[in-house]
C-alpha cells in the first residue's frame, strides 16, 4: 500500500483547505460588484458564449418550430375561439386605462409602483453545476443593468439579477436555494393578501409563499403577482397560480404552494425590468434591529 499523503503533501493539503475556506468566505460576502479580475474572466467567456449561443438558439428554434408544426391545427382552433373574446377585452382594457389615467391626473400622482422599463436580453449560459440555478445573460452594466433588478419571461417572473459585469450579468432563478431570496408577493382575490416568496419545493417544482396571516382564506387557482412593496421590483409581475395552502409549523402563518407561471427550464430570451418608481435609499432603511422608542 503506497502512502497517499507524505508529510509535504499533507501540508499542501492543509494549506489549500485554509485557502479554500478563505476564498469561499470572500465570495459569499455581500458584494455590490464582482472584483475586476472576475469581471474580466466573466466578460471574456461571456463574449465567447454569446458567439456560440446565438447560432445554437437559431437551430434550437428551427427544431422546436418543426415540432410545433405537428399540433398546429388543434392550437389554431383553440386560439381562434380565444381571439373572439380578445377584441372586447382590449376595448375594456383601453377604457380602464383611460379611466385610471384621468383619476391619477386628478389625484396628482404621476408614478405608480407598476411603472417599469423593460430591457430584452438573450440567455448565453446556465450554471451546469445545478446547485444554484443561475443564468448568464448578454447585457451588463453598459446596458444599464443594476443588481437586484427583476427578470421575467413572457409567462412570468423567473428571478433577479445577482451580479453585474460590464457586458454580461448573472440572473438567479426563483428556484435557486438562496435564503436571501425574498420577494414580496400579492395574492389577488376579493381582498389582497401579502406574503413572501421564500424557497422552492424541488420535488413538486412549486414555489413557497410564506408569512401569509393565518386568518385569511386563499383558494386554489388565485393569481400571485409581485406587490412592489419590496422596494426593488415593480408591482404586477406575474409569479404564478396557487395550487395548495397549508398552515405552517406553529399555525400562526400559512404557506401557499404556487405553480410558477414561467418555465424555469429551456429559457432563451428574458426581459430585465427596471423599476421607475424611486427606490428607498439604503441609509433610510432601518437595519432590521429593534430601536428604542
Amino acid at each position: 500500500m503506497p502512502q497517499f499523503f507524505s508529510n509535504k503533501r499533507l501540508i499542501i493539503l492543509l494549506v489549500s483547505m485554509i485557502v479554500l475556506v478563505a476564498l469561499i468566505g470572500f465570495s459569499l460576502r455581500e458584494r455590490n460588484r464582482p472584483s475586476w479580475p472576475e469581471q474580466f474572466v466573466k466578460d471574456t467567456t461571456g463574449w465567447v458564449q454569446s458567439l456560440v449561443a446565438k447560432p445554437t438558439h437559431y437551430f434550437a428554434g428551427l427544431f422546436s418550430s418543426l415540432h410545433e408544426l405537428e399540433n398546429t391545427y388543434q392550437e389554431n382552433k383553440e386560439l381562434k375561439s380565444r381571439i373572439d373574446k380578445l377584441a372586447s377585452l382590449e376595448a375594456e382594457v383601453q377604457t380602464l386605462k383611460k379611466d385610471n389615467q384621468s383619476l391619477r391626473d386628478t389625484l396628482g400622482e404621476k408614478q405608480t409602483l407598476s411603472d417599469n422599463d423593460p430591457l430584452p436580453a438573450t440567455v448565453i449560459g446556465r450554471n451546469p453545476d445545478r446547485w444554484t440555478e443561475m443564468l448568464i445573460i448578454d447585457k451588463g452594466n453598459v446596458n444599464g443593468i443594476k443588481k437586484n433588478m427583476a427578470v421575467v419571461t413572457a409567462t412570468g417572473l423567473i428571478g433577479k439579477v445577482k451580479s453585474v459585469n460590464q457586458f454580461s450579468s448573472t440572473v438567479e432563478l426563483l428556484s435557486a436555494m438562496d435564503p436571501k431570496n425574498r420577494i414580496s408577493a400579492l395574492i389577488q382575490g376579493k381582498s389582497d393578501v401579502y406574503g413572501f416568496v421564500q424557497g422552492f419545493d424541488e420535488k413538486q417544482k412549486l414555489l413557497l409563499i410564506k408569512s401569509i396571516p393565518a386568518g385569511t382564506t386563499i383558494t386554489k387557482g388565485q393569481n400571485v403577482i409581485t406587490s412592489g412593496l419590496g422596494g426593488i421590483f415593480p408591482k404586477g409581475l406575474e409569479i404564478g397560480k396557487v395550487v395548495d395552502v397549508k398552515p405552517d409549523q406553529y399555525g400562526l402563518n400559512q404557506t401557499a404552494y404556487v405553480k410558477p407561471g414561467a418555465d424555469f427550464y429551456d429559457i432563451q430570451n428574458v426581459i430585465v425590468i427596471k423599476r421607475l418608481m424611486t427606490q428607498p435609499q439604503v441609509s433610510q432603511m432601518s437595519s432590521g434591529k429593534e430601536e428604542d422608542l
Binding site: L20, L23, I24, A53, S163, D178
Partner: protein, 172 residues
C-alpha cells in the same frame, strides 16, 4: 495549432456543459432528475490518466477556477475539488494498468467523489436543502448514468488523443 488544441478542447467542453443544461427540459423521461453534465471533469480525469499527473492537475486547477468564477460565483469549490480528485486518481492509477474499462470505472468513481464533495460543501454553506436520500436518487445516480453515456461515446477517442499527446510531450 497543435498546442492550442488541448485548451480549445477544454474550452469547448466548458461551453457545452452550459448549453446542455440550458436546453435540458424540465423533466427527462417523466422524472424529476437533476442531470449534471460533468463532461469537463471526466475529460480532465482522462487527461490525468493517459497524459500525466502534471498536465491533469494544472488543467484541473485552471478550469476549476474559471468554472467557479463564471458559473458558480463561489470561488474555491471546484478550484479545490478538481485538482484534489485528479491527484487521488493519479495515485490510484499507479496501482492498476491503464486499461480502458478501468479508466472508465475510475472516472465514474471520481465523478461520484466530486458530487459528494460538492454536496458536502453546498450543505455547509447552506445553498442546498436537498437531503441525502434525495441527493442520491434525484441527482447522483442520473448524473452518473449521463456521464457514463458520455464516456462510452467519447471515451475512446479521448484516450487515443491523450495518449498521442503524451507521446508528443515525451518526444520533445
Amino acid at each position: 495549432m497543435k498546442k492550442i488544441l488541448l485548451p480549445l478542447l477544454f474550452m469547448c467542453l466548458f461551453l457545452v456543459e452550459s448549453l446542455f443544461v440550458e436546453y435540458l427540459p424540465d423533466q427527462v423521461f417523466g422524472q424529476n432528475w437533476i442531470l449534471v453534465p460533468r463532461f469537463l471533469f471526466s475529460t480532465l480525469i482522462f487527461l490525468t490518466i493517459y497524459t500525466g499527473k502534471k498536465q491533469g492537475i494544472l488543467y484541473a486547477a485552471i478550469f476549476g477556477l474559471v468554472f467557479d468564477v463564471v458559473y458558480v460565483e463561489v470561488i474555491g469549490i471546484y478550484l479545490f475539488l478538481f485538482p484534489l480528485i485528479c491527484y487521488l486518481v493519479s495515485k490510484i492509477m499507479h496501482l492498476w494498468h491503464d486499461n480502458f474499462m478501468i479508466a472508465f470505472f475510475v472516472t465514474i468513481c471520481a465523478t461520484t467523489l466530486l458530487e459528494l464533495g460538492s454536496f458536502g460543501i453546498q450543505h455547509i454553506i447552506h445553498i442546498a436543502n436537498l437531503d441525502f436520500i434525495d441527493f442520491l436518487n434525484l441527482r447522483l445516480f442520473p448524473t452518473l448514468i449521463l456521464n457514463a453515456i458520455f464516456l462510452l461515446i467519447f471515451g475512446y477517442p479521448l484516450k487515443r488523443y491523450f495518449e498521442k499527446y503524451a507521446a508528443r510531450l515525451s518526444g520533445e
